[in-house]
Every structure is written in C-alpha cells, then in structure tokens.
Amino acid sequence: MNSCQEISELFSDYVEKTLVEKDRQAMDVHLRACAACRDTVGRIAKLRHNLKSLMALEASPDFEMVLRTRMRLERHRMRPWASAMPLSPVRAMAFAAFLIVLISGAVFSYLRFLSPGSPAFVQTSSSQANLSAPSPAKAAGATLAKSYQRYVYALEGVTIPDAPGAALRISSVGLAKYQALQVDTSAASLPAELDPVLVSF
C-alpha cells in the first residue's frame, strides 16, 4: 500500500476525478483502510464547494466613473490634441473658430508691431543687471537676481547694460526699428515710455 504522504499528492486529482484508472483504484483501496486520509479527501471536496460559493465582491458604485476619469487622463497624456478635440462636428467647428481668433490676433499683433512705438521685448545678458531706466521695477528698488531674464519693452532687441552708464546693446533685428524711432542708442537709460511691462518668461 502507498504511504499517506505519497497518496496525498493525488488527492486533488482524486476529487477532480482526473486520476487514471489504476491510480484511482489504488486510492480507493487506501481510503477504505485509512480514516485520516478519507477525512482529508472529504474536507478537500467541501473546501472546493465552499470556495466556489464565496460571495462575489461588488464593485464600488463609482468604479466605472473613476475608471473613465483615469482613461480620459490617459488619453490626454497619450494624444493631447486628439483627446481635446475628438472628431465631433460641433467641437471641430469650435476648434476652427478658436484657430481663426488666434490667427487674427497674431496678425493684428504683427501689424501693430510694424507701426512706430510698438511693443517688443528686450533681454538682459547680465546676472546682476541694474536697470537705470526709470522703470517701475527700479522704483520699487528691485534688482535682477538671475541671468538672462527677459523683459518686455517697447522696443525689440535692446540689451540692458551690465552696469549703469554702459551703452545699450541692440540686436541686429531690432536695430532698424530702434533707429527708425531715433532713440539714443548710447544712452544708459531708456526713455520713460519704454519701461518694462512684463517680467516673466
């Protein structure tokens, strides 16, 4: 007769009725003689029944809503433009209108830029540039802490000098414009009307 240890390796096959005939007969013989193994096989059969009958867990009511939100974020992450503008006619038209407004604004800004006294930006090359212009920043006692900070001025291509009294540097792009306005390019300070108006980039 097989030992209980050996026979126990076949318990699952026995309760699932997948043993070959020879092994099944050997098991039957063992179980008739061994109460402990018989009890174990009986408990395994009941265990399987109990496991199958375990109550199914219900998903939370907001499970799908949360999933949809996460999917939306995922889609946005994968294809931001496609996600923002699915091919629905209404949204496509809204997007087209938005583009028209955007392009019109850009054209308008460009035309304004071409006119005298138009706004443009200037950039500093100094880590501690001291604005000698009568600007709001200077009036507030502010100094520049980081290098290459940019400011929006009424002129394009003007570089703020490193120290008071140094000549303003003008990029080639902005030179013609600057000269057209007849501003003194060697002046250490900018005219009041050219005060910086934006300090964030």
């Binding site: 395994i44 009941k46 265990l47 109990n50 867990l57 499970f63 949360v66």
Partner: protein
Amino acid sequence: MAESPEKQESRPTDEDLIERFQGGDLYAFDLIVKNYKQQLLNFVFRFLGNQEEAEDVVQETFLRVFRNRSAYRRVAKFSTWIYTIAGNLARTELRRRRRRRFLSISDMGVQDKDYEISAEVLNPEAQTDGALKDEIIQAEIARLSPKFREVIILRDIQELSYEEISKILRIPIGTVKSRVNRARLRLQNRLKHLLDKDR
C-alpha cells in the same frame, strides 16, 4: 457603460472585442470592462484581501489594456492576457504593501495584525453565518503564501483550467497542479473546524 440591444445579440468573443478595440472601437473596450470587471475584482480581492486596493489594481489593469492594446496578439486567449496583467499588478501591490509594513513594523507590535481575525468576525451575532464563514475562509486564504494563494484562487474560486493558470503564471502545468494540491491540503487542515461542521 450601457450596452445597446444590437450589440447584446451578436455576443462577440473577447478576442473579437479586443481586435475591434485595436481598430479604434471604444465601445468594444466598454464591453471588455463590463465582462471582466467583476471576475478580476474577485480575483484581486481574494489575493490582496482589501477592496480598495483591489479596485485600484483592477482599474490599473484596464488602463494597461487600454494603453498597451496593440501588444495583444490573437495567438493567446484574451482572458489569459488580462489575468496575467492583473496578477502581476496584484503581486506588485503585495510587495509594496510588505515594504510599507516593514517600514512601519515598530508601530505594529510583535504580531502581524493583517492576519488577525477581528472581534466582529468572531462574534456570531454580528454577522450572518454565510458572511462569517466567508471571512474566516478569506482570512485563511490570506495566510497562504502568494504562490499558493494565487493558484487556489484561480482554480477553485475563478474556476480556470490548469492549462490557463499555467499560461497566466508562466509555470508548468505540473507545478500548478502540485501547488493547488498543497494549497488545498493546508487550507483544509486550517479550516478543519469549519469544514467538519458541514457534515
């Protein structure tokens, strides 16, 4: 994620659904969620023993399917693929939980509180017999090591075939059978008091 009547009639296979989803049909993905939400939730919940974590893992599973849909090939059953993803994520969650527990072990005292059965569970008046039995069984499943736990859940609760479990876990069928047998032997021994009452 409502299902339209005409779609209900056609009853596409899971493999059809994922192929449709690969072709851009988002409704097919809704059907996949509908078909698998419950069974994956039960699988992961029985493995982790915590509903909130289980829901999070199942959602992440669907997101992985969504994100990596092009990785699925029809040579494999879709159920095998999605169960593999869910199982991997559940095991990762379990490891993460162990790390957290390890880091806060001084706060937990000597005993591992995850394995304690609450006073509420032990109070027969607090719950019905069925719910109490479920909780006791769940507590014993949780005491099994992960490699025994996952096979017994997949075999006896999810009722998957040995072949499919072997593919999901990427281990030989013989190993699956041996683990299932050992898991059953351990559980029947620990649940003797409960199972013997059923006579």
